[in-house]
């Protein structure tokens, strides 16, 4: 994610109008690729957030009078077996790298709340970077278009001159 950030910090100091169209194209391509990566990370993060939020929601549906309540336990995504809630106040949560912790209902809700907040923070950070890069990419494209327009004008002027030379 941050592998190329040091390489991209520099071009912002360079006057874009002094670069050749080829260099600008190169920068544009690099940036577009990077934007793609950022976009991908963002969608992964949104997916993570949805998962955590889903777990939190599931916990919030738990009511204190659900002791012995019958539920359907999913064995696969399309097959369920009936079961009963035996213990209302202990949940085992996967916290990553193979570690699981047991928490009570409030603690578990709190855990997922914190996770959602954490992921949201990361999303906001990346969105900020994304915005910066979009702005920069736009200015690169702007300069590139300016240069292309100038090149076309120059070519037209040359052609006219040639024609007028020929007719003279």
């Amino acid at each position: 994610m941050a592998g190329t950030s040091s390489a991209t910090a520099k071009p912002e100091m360079i006057d874009l109008t002094k670069l050749s169209p080829d260099q600008l194209m190169q920068i544009k391509q690099d940036f577009e690729q990077e934007m793609g990566n950022i976009q991908e990370s963002l969608s992964t993060l949104h997916g993570c957030k949805a998962k955590y939020a889903g777990s939190k929601e599931a916990l919030e549906t738990f009511q204190p009078d659900w002791e012995n309540r019958q539920i359907l336990v999913p064995l696969t995504s399309s097959m369920y077996v009936p079961g009963r809630v035996k213990d209302l106040n202990n949940f085992v949560i996967d916290i990553g790298t193979g570690y699981y912790i047991e928490k009570d209902l409030e603690g578990s809700k709190d855990y997922f709340k914190r996770r959602v907040e954490y992921v949201q923070e990361q999303i906001e950070k990346i969105e900020k970077i994304h915005l910066q890069k979009t702005r920069f990419l736009n200015s690169v494209v702007g300069v590139l278009e300016m240069k292309q327009a100038a090149a076309v004008k120059m070519m037209q002027a040359q052609q006219q001159q040639q024609q007028s030379n020929q007719s003279a």
């Binding site: 994610m1 941050a2 592998g3 085992v92 790298t97 193979g98 570690y99 912790i101 047991e102 928490k103």
Partner: protein, 127 residues
């Protein structure tokens, strides 16, 4: 005739330089990928440690071994995760060093290629 031989030799040298540059580039990409993986692991472990440090003595901790959850002592888990973070940080440092060296080597090869290119052009212009 002599000139042709000369430029052919130059061309060969240039090509080997380009090849080693490309090889380096490939391993560089691999290294960057590996680094990203390590960074991810470091992050995950840090999150786990944060979570473990929030627990009290009456919270149970389990570790997944294959398909079974095994109960762990909280203190042990903290130490284990701490050690893992240390190990991953070291690996990360090592890969940063290797990456820097690779970049230096790549620069050297690039300069060599530029030099041979110039010599080749000079030789071609003299023909």
């Amino acid at each position: 005739m002599n000139m042709d031989k000369n430029s052919a030799a130059l061309y060969k040298k240039m090509q080997t330089e380009v090849e080693s540059y490309q090889n380096l580039q490939k391993s560089c990409v691999k290294m960057v990928k590996q680094r990203a993986l390590l960074e991810g692991q470091l992050n995950e472990n840090k999150c786990v440690l944060d979570e473990l440090s929030l627990l009290g003595p009456d919270n149970k901790v389990f570790k997944l071994f294959g398909p079974v959850l095994v109960k762990q002592e909280l203190e042990d888990s903290r130490q284990n995760v701490g050690k893992r973070i240390e190990y991953i940080s070291k690996e990360l440092e090592r890969s940063t060093d290797t990456l820097e060296n690779m970049e230096k080597d790549m620069l050297k090869h690039r300069e060599a290629v530029a030099k041979y290119q110039q010599q080749w052009q000079v030789a071609a212009a003299m023909k």
